[in-house]
Symmetry: C2
Subunit: 121 residues, 2 copies
DNA sequence: ACTATATTTCGTCGAATGCCGAAATGTCAA
DNA sequence: TTGACATTTCGGCATTCGACGAAATATAGT
C-alpha cells in the first residue's frame, strides 16, 4: 500500500508525468529535462527524486551528468502497469507531441551547452 | 491530459483509493464509506466528489441516500485501466483485506443506524 | 407545511506541495 | 589542490490539500 501510494502521488503532478513520457524515447540528464519543462534544475532534481523513490525511474551517473531512464523489465508489476498506463493514456495527446518536438531540438545540442544556457538566467 | 491528471490526483490519496477498493464489492452510500474510513461525512463527501469528477465513480440517488459505485463498462480506457491497476496492485494487501472485513460488519446493519451512530459524536 | 434525516457546501486551520535561489556536494580537468 | 561545472540539498514563500464543524440543501414521512 505504502509503495503503491508513492507511485500515485508521484504521478499526481503534470511535470513528473511529462518526464515519464519524455523518457520513453531514451535516457535524459537533469539539465535536458529542466530545459524541456522550463523549470529550475533544483526543482527538476526534486521531481526526479520523487519519481525515483516511487520506482518509476532509474538513474546512471556519467562524469558530471546523471542520466535518468525508465525502469528495466524487472520492475514491479505495479510499476510497469503504471508506466504503460501513462504512455497509453497520454502518448497521443497534443502535450506529448509538443514535448517530443521540443525534445528533438534539445537533443541536437550537447548537455554542456544547455547547462551553460541555464546559468545565464 | 487535463482529464488524465484529474485521475492521478484523485488516486493520490489513501482514503480515496480505499474507497475504490471497497466499491469493488458493490455500491455504498456516504455514511457507510464514512464509517469504513473513520472520517466525517463531509470529508467523505468531498473525497467522493473528487473521485466523481475524475470519472472514477458513478452515483445514484435513492430516497435520502446517495449510492456510489464503480463506473460501468462504457467508461474511458484510461478510467478502466486505472481501476484495474488499483485492484490488481492492492486487492491482495492486508489493508484491503482488513477493509473488506470491516465492510462486512458495516453491511450487516442498515444505513440509517450508521448515520444515527455518526450523529452521537 | 413542518420535521427528521442524508448529503453537500462553506469557512477555517494546520500540513504538505511546488517553486525558486543559494549553498553544499560530488566529479573531472588542469 | 584548485577551479569549473552538474546535480542535490536547504531555506523560504505562496498555494493547495485534507480535515473538521456549522450551515445549507434535498428528500421522506407526519
Amino acid at each position: 500500500m505504502r509503495e503503491f501510494m508513492r507511485i500515485t502521488k508521484a504521478l499526481a503532478d503534470d511535470n513528473r508525468v511529462r518526464v515519464l513520457l519524455a523518457l520513453k524515447a531514451g535516457e535524459l540528464c537533469v539539465c535536458q529535462i529542466s530545459e524541456l519543462c522550463g523549470l529550475a534544475p533544483s526543482t527538476i532534481s526534486k521531481h526526479l527524486s520523487i519519481l525515483y523513490q516511487a520506482g518509476l525511474i532509474e538513474s546512471r551517473k556519467e562524469e558530471r551528468w546523471v542520466f535518468y531512464r525508465l525502469p528495466s523489465k524487472e520492475a514491479t508489476i505495479a510499476i510497469r502497469e503504471a508506466i504503460d498506463w501513462v504512455q497509453k493514456s497520454l502518448g497521443g495527446t497534443p502535450q506529448a507531441a509538443e514535448d517530443r518536438k521540443k525534445l528533438k531540438q534539445i537533443l541536437k545540442v550537447d548537455p554542456t551547452t544547455i547547462c551553460q544556457r541555464q546559468l545565464r538566467r
